[in-house]
Amino acid sequence: MLNQDSHNPRPHIRKLLLRLIAMLVVFVISTLGVVTAIHNYSLQLIETSQKELLPAIHDHQRAALNLERLERMGDLVVYGGSITLIRKNALAAQVLAFQPSFNLSPDTQKTVRSAFELLREVRHTRQKLLSSNGERLSSIERQNLSQLEQTLRIRWGEYKQELFELQNKIISDATSLQTANMSQITSTNNLILVIASGGVSILLMLIFFIGYNLYKHLITPVIKASSALTALEQRSEHTPLTDARYQELHTINKAVNSLGETLAKLHDMATRDSLTGCVNRGYFLELAQQALSNAHRNKTAMALVMLDVDHFKKVNDQYGHSVGDDTLKLATKWIRAQLPDEGVIGRLGGEEFALILPGYDAVQAVKLSDKIRLMIANNSTDSGTIPAITVSLGVEVVKSATDEVDKLLSQADKALYQAKASGRNQVILFRPTEETTKPAPPVALKPALPDLKETVVHVTANGIISSVSAEDIKPPV
């Protein structure tokens, strides 16, 4: 067994636990790792939005405000009444139009710069019109300039519309930047939530798996072993424990199984006669008591039979003890073959045996006893290995609910004594004397012995009450 174990080493429970714990730890750590990584990513997003996106949004807002200022400056250039005002605003518009803050997109840059080109033309035209030199202009020149001024004003109106739309676009760009940023952060947080809840679900599954493993490999074997032990203690039947997966439980199962076997062996040794395998005197009395209690309880019949090998001492003396032993063994084997399933044979001592026959009334018991008697006589004659023997049997049946094992046995013994006294190789049913019990027909084929208070009945195998003379009995050869 040791060899077997070393060839097929079983894992230890510690290994199971370590493996389950390792799984748990690895899982928890990896889940935490993933969540932390995503959390860091989310933090990074927030930081990016603060460091880059937020300034970008502010840039857009500034650009939108500057566009508004450009429009105001443009208005003053286009409609302003004094050269100084026009010049001042035109200069500012020029600087503003080329401010790097409009480098948001090529479109913005282009629109703003072409708006500035127009303003420069307006400034030039209007400066000419408004300057002191203007008075020197001819009326046609003045008219042309005024006309140009009108055209430029109309174009400025269009540009203003364009600038206004650009402004709206920049503001909506800023808004969408903000929205995109927010939705990115939100989706990252959602991802964290999904992964965390997924992790929790997997964790629950893992815990279930661990529980299942513990239940299967630890708890179930322990429960089985414990119920097997309980069965052993109560001496009831149990199926032998099967192999367990883990070493410790396997050891327990093996121990329980071998304990069961040992207990059974010990019980046999304590209750059975080692030579014949019959139950010994003590256990026979116990079983007889149980059978009697059952008979009383169920109000069923029951018979006790005492059996003795006739002249057994002679067998021992003539053929030696080993033949004597064989004789007893074979005799009990033949008797056992005749016994009903619930019948019990006990060896009360030397060549003296007793039978418990639950459910048997007097006639059945006498019949069976005679069958046994005949068979032993015939079989032993035919056997060749043992000498021909005969047996005498005394039968007693339960008659009242107050009958006790001791009394029944002693009465069967009395019948046996009677059989012996009447010449052996016969069956005698115990009959109480008239003093003790009333009716009991005194069917004695042989006159009762003067010193006996009871009458005995001699029954043949046919159930016919007859007398057998002692001379008919074959003496042991």
Partner: protein, 263 residues
């Protein structure tokens, strides 16, 4: 009789003097540690100049004061001409320079930069009758004299790209005066600085020449310079600038000096 009385009073006086010296030394040491010296040129109204009461004023001065306030640091102005500012930063004579620096690879080797505090371009200015001329063509004419601040990004640009004669000045105002006096034909300078100057009615004979010059080395983010000897200042000043941007204080300062948002 007098001698024994005088002795303790002498000791007392000496002790007091000693205490005063120690206190002075300690306070002197602590202030020396805390004071940040800010290099600034004072030659160009209204961005950095000294007013009648002798105080340094202007956009750069206001921004740097706000930064120092945010940093809870004590700042002290050191007036320097522009060409002297980078050497002073290198020597750690000054720690911050509020001097409208454009970031260039050459300067990065010598000093640290803060984040931007405004954005600008570069323009050529000259007589208003030339305002429709193309500065790119003008700069290629070897018979022209271009005025510029010495060591400025504009100066470096001219040295690389212009065939015209370059006349440089330590202070922008000197270059401006020279232009007024006809000592040069055109002046190359930061557009935003020029705007205020040109907007003055008395300067109506001057104007931007063409459009701002399109060159990466002449436009974009404008930074303050920092000494490399105090690397921790970079983060502190940047944080202060961020706070000023976020709180709108920088915008208020910008509105005070410029007709639109220059950040």
């Amino acid at each position: 009789m007098r001698t024994p009385k005088r002795l303790p009073s002498q000791i007392k006086a000496r002790l007091m003097a000693l205490t005063a010296i120690i206190l002075l030394a300690v306070s002197g040491m602590s202030t020396a540690e805390d004071v940040i010296k800010v290099g600034i040129s004072t030659s160009f109204k209204p961005f950095n100049y000294i007013d009648s009461s002798g105080e340094i004023r202007g956009f750069n001065a206001d921004v740097v004061r706000a930064i120092c306030e945010k940093m809870q640091a004590k700042c002290e102005f050191v007036a320097l001409t522009f060409p002297k500012i980078i050497p002073a930063l290198e020597r750690n004579d000054i720690q911050i320079a509020a001097s409208n620096f454009l970031k260039t690879p050459e300067r990065l080797k010598r000093i640290n930069f803060t984040d931007k505090y405004y954005r600008s371009t570069t323009s050529l200015i000259g007589p208003s009758e030339d305002s429709f001329k193309d500065p790119a063509i003008l700069l290629k004419q070897s018979n022209l004299r271009i005025l510029v601040t010495h060591e400025s990004a504009q100066w470096h640009y001219l040295k690389r790209h212009s065939q015209a004669e370059i006349i440089s000045y330590d202070a922008l105002m000197e270059a401006m005066t020279s232009l007024q006096q006809g000592k040069g034909d055109y002046l190359l300078m930061p557009t935003l600085f020029a705007l205020n100057y040109l907007q003055q009615p008395e300067n109506s004979h001057l104007d931007f020449i063409g459009l701002p010059i399109d060159d990466v080395s002449l436009e974009g983010d404008v930074h303050m310079g920092l000494t490399k000897a105090r690397p921790e200042l970079q983060n502190q000043v940047n944080q202060a600038i961020r706070q000023l941007v976020d709180s709108g204080e920088l915008r208020a300062l910008i509105d005070k000096y410029f007709p639109f948002n220059v950040y």
